[in-house]
């Protein structure tokens, strides 16, 4: 079963991500981006595996330009892991699921 990935917007970003008690992985994506669509199911699988320790969220940069702007994102897919409101890991482009798993584990 696919894990839960929360949809966040510019309005909810602060509360859901920066003020979250748990670490949050945010998947910045857009409908025009092929690799983003491709990475989506992987994020859902990771949410199933790690959902109890870390929150998973996605932010559509087409509809929410402010949040990606804050983090200087000019390439997608970009994944950022936030811990205590801080950007602790930023991953750009398509990466293997095994690599993402390793990155997540190293931050837990």
């Amino acid at each position: 079963m696919a894990g839960h990935v929360l949809e966040i917007s510019d309005t909810t970003f602060d509360n859901e991500v920066l003020k979250s008690q748990k670490p949050v992985l945010v998947d910045f994506w857009a409908p025009w981006c092929g690799p983003c669509k491709a990475i989506g199911p992987i994020i859902e699988e990771l949410a199933t595996a790690f959902g109890d320790k870390i929150r998973f969220a996605k932010c559509n940069v087409d509809e929410n330009p402010v949040s990606p702007g804050k983090f200087g994102i000019t390439a997608i897919p970009t994944l950022i892991i936030f811990k205590g409101g801080k950007n602790v890991k930023q991953i750009t482009g398509m990466v293997a699921k095994s690599k993402l798993e390793a990155d997540i584990k190293s931050l837990l």
């Binding site: 491709a38 199911p41 992987i42 994102i73 000019t74 390439a75 482009g93 293997a96 699921k97 095994s98």
Partner: protein, 308 residues
């Protein structure tokens, strides 16, 4: 007869891997395809494909891959999202080593494709994702009304530069030679596009900025003259490198690392085949990749019949 987990393992899920998988599934082989991310490969970052037969109006890379995957699955192809990290082809039954298991197969088709080559200049790595990009469809919209540079002169560089003009105010196309290598129709479109300015005989020597790309340095290779361009994006399309690290010395490769295969797509190891961009070939297109793959699957089927 030695036993193996599978008749055939296909490594890589771009057009070549998917096509080989479809043929193998239709041949009713016990086959699995491993893709470390999701099916698609380089096609996923291609904005528009208009030279693949059957789509007179053109098709996006994303849609084409979706259709190919659906078609292969329809015949029962099993796709696993996992990565082969190394191989052992020393025995007639081949071993494929994954992170947490090993699978065996009588035959293997390597269709791992290629990845964009890097320039190896200062700033390229630092600003990756912060202005440096290899995917115009993904990142072009971030550069609305801005100036960007694109590096290269082949089909990808020229086609994607034209795509970038939908967003960017100006695209500086930097090319090492005094003429483009891209297909004639793409050259015509680029040369007549007012937003594209080509800097001939030139090379990018550095990418600079604070947190994001702010300027690039360009050197004219004939005159030695250097200049800086104030841009916020830098797209690099200077060719590809084969994805073959996991193979070690298991199969024969050419001086650039591409796998050498014969007309049956068989490599230096009997029962190991290669298809698509990963092999030594004069042309790397979707059309040629799927052609390779059909031959590789057919050859693999015959090989398996003989060893089983």
């Amino acid at each position: 007869m030695k036993t193996a987990d599978y008749d055939l393992v296909i490594i890589g899920g771009g057009p070549a891997g998917i096509t080989a998988g479809m043929y193998a599934a239709r041949a009713r082989l016990n086959v699995v395809m491993f893709e470390k991310m999701v099916p698609g490969g380089q096609v996923l970052v291609t904005d528009w494909i208009e030279n693949y037969p059957g789509f007179p109006e053109g098709i996006s890379g994303m849609d084409l891959i979706q259709r190919m995957t659906d078609q292969a699955k329809q015949f029962g192809l099993k796709i696993e999202s996992d990565e082969i990290v190394s191989v052992d082809f020393s025995q007639p039954v081949k071993s494929l080593i994954l992170n947490d298991k090993t699978v065996t197969a009588h035959a293997v088709i390597i269709a791992t494709g290629a990845s964009p080559k890097k320039l190896g200049i200062p700033g390229e790595k630092t600003f990756y994702g912060k202005g440096v990009s290899v995917c115009a469809t993904c990142d072009g919209p971030f550069f609305k009304g801005r100036e960007v540079v694109a590096v290269g002169g082949g089909d990808t560089a020229v086609q994607e530069s034209i795509f970038l003009t939908r967003f960017a105010k100006k695209v500086w196309l930097i090319h090492r030679r005094d003429r483009l290598r891209a297909a004639g129709i793409l050259q015509e479109r680029a040369l007549s596009n007012e937003k594209i300015e080509i800097l001939w005989d030139s090379a990018l020597t550095g990418i600079e900025g604070l947190s994001n790309v702010e300027k690039v340095n360009v050197r004219n290779l004939k005159t030695g003259e250097t200049r800086s361009l104030a841009v916020s994006g830098c797209f690099i399309w200077i060719g590809i490198l084969p994805n073959t690290d996991f193979l070690g010395d298991s199969v024969k490769r050419d001086e650039f690392g591409f796998i050498i295969a014969d007309s049956k797509m068989e490599t230096s190891v009997p029962g190991v085949f290669a298809a698509g961009d990963v092999r030594t070939t004069p042309l790397r297109q979707i059309a040629s990749a799927v052609g390779d793959a059909a031959i590789a699957a057919f050859s693999a089927e015959h090989y398996i019949e003989n060893v089983k």
